[in-house]
């Protein structure tokens, strides 16, 4: 009986010691990060990629929570205020249209940290907006497409004519024509981020028009599926779409927000946070390529690898002039190049693109 009492006491003491020790080991866990999503986490595209990043920082000891399908209206203010009332320190507001509302809350809570999507239209001292240099990845996929096409006609299924899509299309075309100057890239605008039927139909129509490689900037793999069913090569976007047509997917660009989310957590933890804009890219893994199809010849694979290394090292700048638009205007003069601000205002299509910007 006495023995048991002793054991009990020991257990209690041990438990007490564990409780006392816990705050020390948990010191790194006291950060709370909240995510606000514009769509459902099940969209397999934009929102899904952000939720993967949320799980990534949760594994690093950050407590996280999210609210999905929040419209780009004052609801954003309500949701952010509620998060703040629950002790959250960092808010990731992952849609461009949240900015004006995030600004209101950020200005009222100067000791909290906010992260939005660039380009910045509503800045504050505690807002850091982020995005990735997607166009660098598109350039690399363009190299693959240009090497693989036999008809010298490549199709591109594009969502909305906004600068990031336009820049990606132009970079892709520059890449394709760098390895194969005879290539033309025919673009079809679906004018929707989520319209699987239209995306697939656009891909099919492009193949019927003679294209034998179909690339895309859409949230769903529908164009990939449409291209593969017609026997064309496909290039994915947003996430690794290989699984949807393993034989026909050459590669694709893949978003990974984990590097930025981790960096943001680190900045808040060590006090190095600075407002402004952050663009991830090939260097930190924000933008990467899906694995190359085994049908891609080894020399092309090497060329892609070398180009990637050169872009990261700053040795390859495909935006360097002279660049001529497909209307024949010189858009980048010889000796000049483009910065982020120019890319964010891009409203021309490069020579080699067959098609125009919808009004």
């Amino acid at each position: 009986m006495k023995e048991t009492k002793h054991q009990l006491l020991r257990a209690v003491l041990l438990a007490g010691a564990a409780v006392l020790a816990f705050p020390l080991t948990a010191a790194a866990q006291d950060l709370k990060a909240a995510m606000i999503y514009v769509g459902p986490v099940g969209d397999a595209g934009w929102t899904y990629r952000h939720d993967v990043a949320r799980q990534c920082i949760e594994e690093q000891g950050v407590e996280t929570a999210y609210v999905e399908t929040v419209p780009e209206t004052p609801d954003v203010v309500n949701v952010q205020n509620d998060f703040l009332s629950q002790g959250y320190d960092m808010i990731f507001a992952t849609a461009f249209g949240y900015q004006p509302f995030t600004q209101q809350v950020a200005q009222a809570n100067p000791d909290k940290h906010f992260f939005g999507i660039t380009p910045t239209i509503a800045p504050a001292d505690n807002i850091l907006n982020f995005y990735g240099k997607l166009w660098d990845g598109r350039y690399l996929t363009g190299l693959v497409a240009g090497a693989m096409t036999e008809s010298n006609k490549i199709g591109f299924v594009a969502a909305q004519p906004i600068p990031t899509v336009i820049a990606g299309l132009n970079a892709f075309t520059l890449g394709a024509r760098a390895v194969n100057p005879d290539v033309t890239v025919e673009v079809v605008w679906t004018l929707s981020w989520y319209d699987p039927a239209a995306e697939k139909q656009a891909a099919t129509a492009l193949v019927e028009g003679g294209a034998d490689v179909i690339a895309q900037h859409q949230d769903t793999p529908s164009a990939v599926i449409g291209a593969s069913e017609k026997g064309a090569w496909a290039i994915g976007s947003e996430s690794d779409m290989t699984a949807f047509a393993p034989e026909r997917v050459l590669t694709g660009t893949v978003w990974d927000w984990c590097p930025f989310y981790s960096k943001a957590v680190e900045m808040v933890r060590d006090g190095s946070f600075a407002p402004g804009e952050f663009y991830g890219g090939l260097d930190d893994g924000t933008v990467s390529l899906a694995p190359l199809n085994s049908a891609v010849p080894a020399d092309v694979a090497t060329q892609v690898k070398d180009a990637q290394a050169a872009i990261i090292a700053g040795e390859l700048d495909y935006w360097a002039g002279p660049i001529v638009s497909n209307e024949g205007n010189e858009v980048v003069a010889a000796g000049a190049t483009l910065g982020i601000a120019d890319i964010n205002g891009m409203n021309w299509l490069v020579e080699g693109v067959s098609g125009s910007l919808p009004n």
């Binding site: 419209p71 209206t73 609801d75 629950q86 249209g97």
Partner: protein, 361 residues
């Protein structure tokens, strides 16, 4: 056939007293929360956490309360309009589109007046433009109804999509702000066209909502048109024999509904989003149909119901913040809403057991 007992809903003959009706709504609310709690227990969620979050997100702080009151404004205004038209049994399913047209009208003024226009001029102009645009949109359906007998439920419903696409066209094209990099937003409206804050985060749209509710009471009680609308609704044959101009009533009923929904859109522009954008309304015009029905068309009850509906919406976000999965939160909202809806329905109807075989109608 073996005699299985059948039931039938039939209207209550005696009009309930206000106290009795309040009791019904209250019992509906209690039922709603009991059913909601059962649902939460079944799905393994913590009832106290969930209800705590619902309350916190809707009324739990100054910020939450402001958000709820602001959100009640568009819902309440659309609901008042729907109730107004329903006085004459006109179904306005088009409040959403009228709201968008109102936003278009207000933004048109707010974007194109000189930037230093005084609020004394700009704000009334913006609100008036919104009301006119909303009313004009509703009149399309009203004219078709009055002169061609086209069912207004279908026309008002279909006109919604045109209005939403029209605004989408504007913000993607002619009114797109060059400074927002081709995203679907207009520039912000001029400061003079922005409605001020009343207190904390609550904007002055709340005052407009209350004024409009009072106006509807006055129209109901002491105006000829209020009398004619209700007569045409409650006793259409009597109205016909009485020489009431039916066409005029259709135009006024639906036009008034569109005017109020347009006002809601104008206030969203001048008080909430401050710019024209796609996705302006998460469906306020449709929620308002439910609110008008639950409140049985009574103006003061509409005020209350729209605040509670807004509370339910904002509380829903807080549910997610507290870790309740989005799907569970949405179902909980629906359970609460359906229970209140059922309770108010039993306020006007009662179940009567009828012998089998007599159901033939």
């Amino acid at each position: 056939m073996i005699g299985i007992p059948s039931f039938r809903l039939e209207p209550r003959l005696e009009a309930g007293r206000p106290s009795g009706q309040a009791l019904q709504v209250l019992s509906g609310a209690v039922l709603a929360f009991v059913l909601g709690a059962l649902f939460l227990i079944v799905t393994g969620e913590d009832v106290l956490v969930a209800y705590g979050a619902l309350l916190r997100g809707s009324f739990g702080s100054v910020n939450a309360l402001s958000g709820t009151l602001n959100k009640a404004v568009p819902i309440g205004l659309c609901a008042l309009g729907i109730a107004f038209a329903y006085r004459a049994r006109l179904w306005n399913i088009g409040a959403e589109g009228q709201l968008y047209m109102g936003a278009f009208g207000a933004a048109g003024v707010g974007l194109h007046l000189p930037a230093d226009t005084s609020a004394v001029i700009a704000l009334p102009l913006a609100l008036a433009a919104g009301m006119l645009a909303g009313a004009a949109w509703a009149l399309v359906a009203a004219l078709l109804k009055a002169y061609r007998g086209v069912n207004e439920i279908l026309t008002t419903l279909m006109l919604n999509y045109i209005a939403i696409l029209w605004v989408g066209y504007l913000v993607n094209g002619p009114w797109s702000d060059p400074l927002v990099f081709s995203f679907p937003y207009s520039a912000a409206v001029i400061p003079g066209a922005q409605i001020g804050k009343l207190f904390f985060g609550v904007h002055a749209g709340l005052v407009v909502l209350c004024l409009m509710a009072v106006l509807l009471i006055v129209i109901d009680r002491s105006s000829r048109i209020g009398y004619e609308l209700r007569l045409a609704g409650d006793a259409p044959r009597a109205a016909l024999y009485g020489g009431i101009n039916q066409r005029k009533l259709v135009l006024i009923g639906l036009g008034g509904a569109g005017l109020l929904a347009g006002l809601a859109g104008a206030i969203e522009i001048s008080g909430a989003t401050l710019r024209l954008q796609s996705g302006l309304s998460p469906g306020y015009g449709f929620m308002a149909i439910l609110v008008a029905w639950i409140a049985q068309g009574r103006p003061l009850a509409i005020l209350l119901a729209s605040v509670l509906y807004a509370a339910l919406l904002n509380g829903g976000f807080a549910l997610q913040v507290s870790g309740v999965p989005p799907a569970i939160g949405t179902i909980l909202q629906a359970v609460l809403l359906l229970s209140v809806f059922a309770a108010t329905t039993f306020g006007t109807y009662r179940l009567r057991r009828v012998p089998t075989g007599s159901l033939a109608t």
